[in-house]
Symmetry: C2
Subunit: 264 residues, 2 copies
């Protein structure tokens, strides 16, 4: 038993899709979330800068005495997960391997597509992980630089969003039977993505897969929170405007949350 | 990547139900299994003896250079999992927590039944684990000392099996909505158990839950076997008669396996 909270970090609000799924599965665990919206998106930034920013988020979470850290951001995971996992003595989970592993199990044609930020696609991490487990699988990556700004600006329901998604995905349509949403922002666009790809393509939400894995690791390390530990008090932090963060988070998490601004 | 095999141990043949599920999920991983049928069942034995025997099985697996050990035996898990996990520097997984965790997620009435060997029920481990995660849940244990001998003697299809199962389960019928098969032998009896309990009771196969967790831990520790590592060669060992073991294992695993006798 360990009643401390679990820390989640993201470049912005996208990681809240992981938190949403996690809260649904384990409602008695406490969450501390920090989103770096002031510097989002991470995707187009150089690797060294992503590394530096992610460590700042990690160090912030460590000041909150978390028992586990989840990199709820594919870009951060691609660049720095292994290093952080190596250096900390608490479990550190990224979103890439759970998604890669689920995609391998899901595909029937052996043709998997990956949607991600430019950095995630450029890092080639999904293709490497998938092919190391399953070398015969064909993996096609597609950078979607316009998706995160749509989600961060809460425009995912707009007609612009539909236009952008359809145009971006055009080269992927008909090419794969399984499509990994390799950025935690993208599940917010998943109804449009599913329509664009057609009903037979299986979308893999890396965040939802990660939420399931968190539960397994809590058991394995025996660090579940006791249900006798009292009510949960989640904490949300953003490096940008709390009001803008709260508007998105309240809607996605379907509850009114409190958000604090923090300078890193 | 780590191409070494995964070691499974059991007091007898029951752990093969975990292996069966594991092979179905991850067919490219190699398995080394040892079953201590010569000294089965462990359930009625004193804890100190179970501890000693389980360590002998663990030490045998360590001589085979395994990358992970799965205690595919609820009795051994109840008595000695934490100690083994503490002492080894490879991951060690038991079957109790995955089953307990799945039962909590499955129950709607908050009434969970546990079937197990006398030692597992007496150890009270399932009730403790379930109530530490979910204190309001009612947990009722039922020792089923006649089940393992039925399975070990390959009599699970007999009319005697049906009679024994129905008589044993009588006090549990109508009392719970979720029933944990808290012994890896019991899934072999699950059609009869399901009939005895009625169609609305959800059976939780601890072994199948464990197989899923193994996959998550292989990812987390980055010790998956490469699919380029060549064909898999599973190894099966028993402390009793290889012929008797093979008869059961071939049928459960639906493949012809090679079995060696080993003295511990």
């Amino acid at each position: 038993m360990d009643n401390r909270p679990i820390g989640f970090l993201d470049s912005g609000v996208g990681g809240l899709t992981v938190v949403r799924e996690f809260m649904r599965q384990l409602p008695h665990e406490e969450v501390i979330f920090i989103g770096d919206s002031a510097r989002a998106p991470y995707g187009p930034r150089p690797a060294e800068q992503i590394r530096e920013y992610t460590w700042e988020l990690v160090n912030f979470l460590l000041t909150k005495d978390v028992k586990m850290i989840v990199l709820a951001c594919n870009t951060a995971t691609a660049v720095v997960w292994e290093e952080i996992k190596e250096k900390l003595d608490i479990p550190v989970l990224g979103v890439v391997l759970p998604g890669a592993s689920a995609a391998i199990k899901a595909t029937k044609t052996g043709k998997i597509g990956i949607l991600g930020t430019p950095m995630t696609i450029q890092s080639d991490i999904y293709r490497q992980k998938i092919q190391s487990l399953s070398p015969e699988t064909e993996v096609t990556g597609l950078a979607c630089p316009k998706f995160v700004p749509l989600v961060e600006s809460n425009s995912s329901q707009s007609s612009l969003a539909k236009k952008v998604v359809y145009e971006t995905l055009e080269p992927m349509v008909g090419q794969v039977d399984t499509l990994v949403l390799g950025c935690t922002h993208y599940p917010i666009l998943s109804p449009i993505i599913q329509n664009a790809m057609g009903p037979h393509v299986r979308l893999i939400d890396s965040g939802a897969e990660t939420a399931r894995d968190i539960s397994v690791l809590l058991n394995y390390f025996q660090i579940n929170r006791s249900r006798q530990a009292g009510e949960v008090h989640h904490q949300f932090y953003t490096t940008a405007s709390p009001a803008a963060f709260k508007e998105i988070a309240d809607s996605w998490l379907e509850q009114a949350i409190e958000v604090e601004h923090v300078d890193l």
